[in-house]
């Protein structure tokens, strides 16, 4: 088990590094010039542009920039800014070209907002999706089943941003049923209340696909021979469904769930944007618009770590759910 985890961690590290290198090179391969973006349009001239380029370090050769970045990541590095030397400890993600603030600070203050939103949404879609999916599977072919499957298909086929915008507009802004997002500094209560609207809509829409996954998985499980064996023991149908059927039906859902949570953690972009949640998805989008390389690299790093970590979590969780899976 330990060697398995160590090997997986080594693999994870190389995946993260490869992702970072690709993101770095992609940035330089693209037609991007952050200095140009920062240069005031009316008063921009060659000297000014050169000065900006030098101040953000883009005048150095690519290899040096590359080396500096990764050195900062592992060992920290010093930045000279307006005559002062600022030390940025490992893992140093650099300073934003635009805001001049530390990327670590920029992202790590925002990441918790994304985590809270993603986890609240996950609670909603797991509870709603799995419960309704099981109900549909157990009453397969009934009006309830058809209604649930139909509703989940309708919900799944409307573009998500339309639904999110409607929720943001009606219950939140016009009717004031649900409070608007406020940062944690305004208090814990209002913060979580403000997360309710975005988490609910994100959760409900995602639950549509969980209804279908769960239903299909449960129906497949209930057709298994071991369910017939369980029935032939003379135990109650309830025990057959939930003790024998449910756990087996949930094992494929665990994989999808892990990857879905990873996807949400890397930035619930549309939701954050529509509800004004100050998360990393929204910050990453702003950085992308401004060619703010250090911030872009920071979001890529967090994304890669989250995806790799969740994959590991899923694999380990799997070995607890299914005794046939041995970690070695």
């Amino acid at each position: 088990m330990l060697t398995y985890i160590l090997r997986r961690l080594a693999l994870a590290l190389s995946v993260i590094l490869a992702t970072l290198v690709s993101a770095f090179l992609l940035f330089f391969a693209g037609p991007s010039d952050p200095a140009q973006a920062m240069c005031p349009e009316t008063r921009c001239n060659a000297t000014r542009l050169a000065a900006i380029t030098k101040s953000i370090g883009l005048d150095k050769p690519l290899t040096v920039q590359f080396f500096d970045y990764f050195k900062g990541l592992f060992f920290g590095r010093d930045f000279v800014y307006a005559g002062d030397t600022v030390h940025c400890g490992a893992p140093c993600l650099g300073f934003s070209f635009v805001t001049r603030r530390s990327v670590n600070e920029e992202l790590f203050t925002r990441f918790p907002n994304t985590i809270v939103l993603a986890l609240m949404a996950a609670v909603v879609f797991v509870t709603v999706g799995v419960t309704l999916g099981i109900i549909a599977a157990v009453r397969r072919g009934s009006a309830t089943d058809r209604g649930l499957v139909g509703a989940s298909q309708v919900l799944g086929s409307i573009p998500y941003y339309v639904l999110a915008l409607l929720v943001a507009l009606y219950p939140v802004i016009l009717w004031n049923v649900l409070p608007q997002y406020s940062s944690i500094s305004a208090g814990v209560g209002p913060y979580f209340m403000g997360m309710l609207a975005p988490a609910l809509i994100l959760g409900f829409v995602t639950s549509a696909s969980y209804v279908r996954y769960t239903r299909n998985s449960m129906i497949e499980t209930l057709s298994m021979d071991y369910i017939r064996t369980a029935r032939s023991k003379g135990i109650s149908e309830r025990t057959v469904l939930y003790k024998h059927g449910f756990r087996a039906a949930m094992s494929p859902i665990a994989t999808i769930l892990g990857l879905d949570i990873a996807a949400l953690l890397t930035g619930t972009l549309i939701t954050e944007q529509i509800f004004g949640v100050d998360g990393i998805g929204r910050r990453g989008l702003a950085a992308l618009k401004a060619f703010d390389l250090p911030v872009i690299m920071g979001t890529v790093l967090i994304g890669a770590v989250v995806v790799v970590f969740m994959n590991l979590v899923v694999d380990i969780a799997y070995s607890f759910i299914d005794p046939r899976v041995r970690l070695s």
Partner: protein, 356 residues
């Protein structure tokens, strides 16, 4: 091991008299309505299973062997199955019985051992727990007592080191051991009837014999009735007392297993035996029954076997395709019944065998 057998056997308070009818199936029909039409899996089937005896139900795939047995335990989806006729298990009528009745009789009065032990045991639950669960469902005992019983059962079916193996998962067992565990599960509540649905099909040949011996031995000790569903006539020869040959959802011949195998009196049974390698001369090709089993959606008129029967020309008139033959004693044979229009099937088949 003998000691544990005794303690288990004496837990049954009722006296068991060998020969008593424990399962009385009469005029049983099982049909599945589908979009293409009604699949008549079993039609007007009648048979009995007796304590202390093994009844083999033999037939090709789709002849209704498993379907009729699953009906005994109520394992068909009631919404998608039409069952008529009568199934009396230990005096309890099961056709039309509520789910609660089936829950009570499952495992206590009738239990089933399924074909593929690999897929029939729950992959996520420990073997001992799966057996203990069945015991606990019908006996008000603690988990520890139920588990102790499960270990005893594993010992009884010949699993070495049962205490430890009870804590293993099915995938840690070999195929033969899994089937032993299934038998332990089947017998944990000492049922009067054990239905073994092709219990050896998924096992390799050396293990097959061990499993059949085990079933035979346990039957003697428990005094229960066994229904052995199989398409393997060699298995029947070794283990069964009585035989019921099925074709297209109907019984076509019944009698003592040894006698039927030695001297079949229905053209279908005869054809089955002719298709076995041991019944053919060296260098001679095996004789398969011509044609394929009929679609259960659209059974042939009259005798279902007539499109494949080589002897229908020897029946006068058009009885074979207009009239369903009724059960009747085979002329010239004792304790044998067939459904066939042939006037003297024994002579007809004997003549055919001599002619080759």
């Amino acid at each position: 091991m003998t000691a544990s057998v005794n303690t288990i056997s004496t837990q049954s308070a009722e006296a068991r008299n060998a020969g008593d009818v424990v399962l009385d199936v009469s005029d049983l029909s099982v049909a599945f309505p589908t979009e293409e039409g009604v699949v008549k899996a079993v039609s007007n089937l009648t048979y009995q299973a007796r304590l202390g005896r093994t009844l083999a139900i033999v037939g090709e795939s789709g002849s209704g062997k498993s379907v009729s047995s699953m009906a005994v335990l109520g394992l068909h989806n009631p919404k998608r199955t039409q069952i008529t006729g009568s199934i009396k298990l230990d005096g309890i009528e099961l056709v039309g019985a509520p789910a609660s009745t089936f829950q009570k009789i499952r495992s206590t009065k009738a239990a089933m051992v399924f074909q593929d032990p690999q897929s029939s045991l729950h992959p996520f639950h420990k073997v001992g727990k799966q057996i203990a669960e069945a015991y606990q469902a019908h006996n008000k005992v603690s988990k520890q007592v139920a588990m102790k019983r499960a270990v005893e059962m594993l010992d009884l079916v010949g699993i070495p080191n049962p205490q430890r193996r009870a804590n293993s998962y099915p995938h840690e067992f070999s195929g033969g051991m899994r089937q032993r565990a299934m038998i332990a599960l089947g017998l944990v509540n000492n049922p009067k009837l054990l239905i073994a649905d092709e219990p050896t099909t998924a096992l390799d040949v050396t293990v097959q014999a061990q499993i059949l011996d085990l079933v035979n031995d346990l039957q003697k000790e428990f005094g229960s009735a066994v229904i052995l569903i199989t398409h393997d006539l060699a298995v029947v020869a070794e283990t069964a007392d009585d035989i019921l040959v099925m074709y297209a959802g109907r019984g076509v011949e019944k009698g003592s297993a040894k006698e039927v195998l030695a001297q079949p009196s229905h053209p279908y049974t005869y054809g089955l035996l002719q298709s076995l390698p041991s019944h053919s001369e060296d260098l001679e090709e095996l004789r398969a029954i011509k044609g394929t089993p009929p679609s259960l959606l659209n059974l042939p008129s009259g005798c279902s076997f007539h499109p494949r029967c080589e002897f229908k020309s020897q029946v006068e008139g058009d009885a074979c395709w207009t009239q369903l033959p009724a059960w009747r004693p085979t002329p010239g044979l004792h304790n044998r019944e067939i459904r066939c229009h042939l006037a003297d099937p024994v002579a007809t088949l004997k003549h055919d065998e001599e002619a080759r």
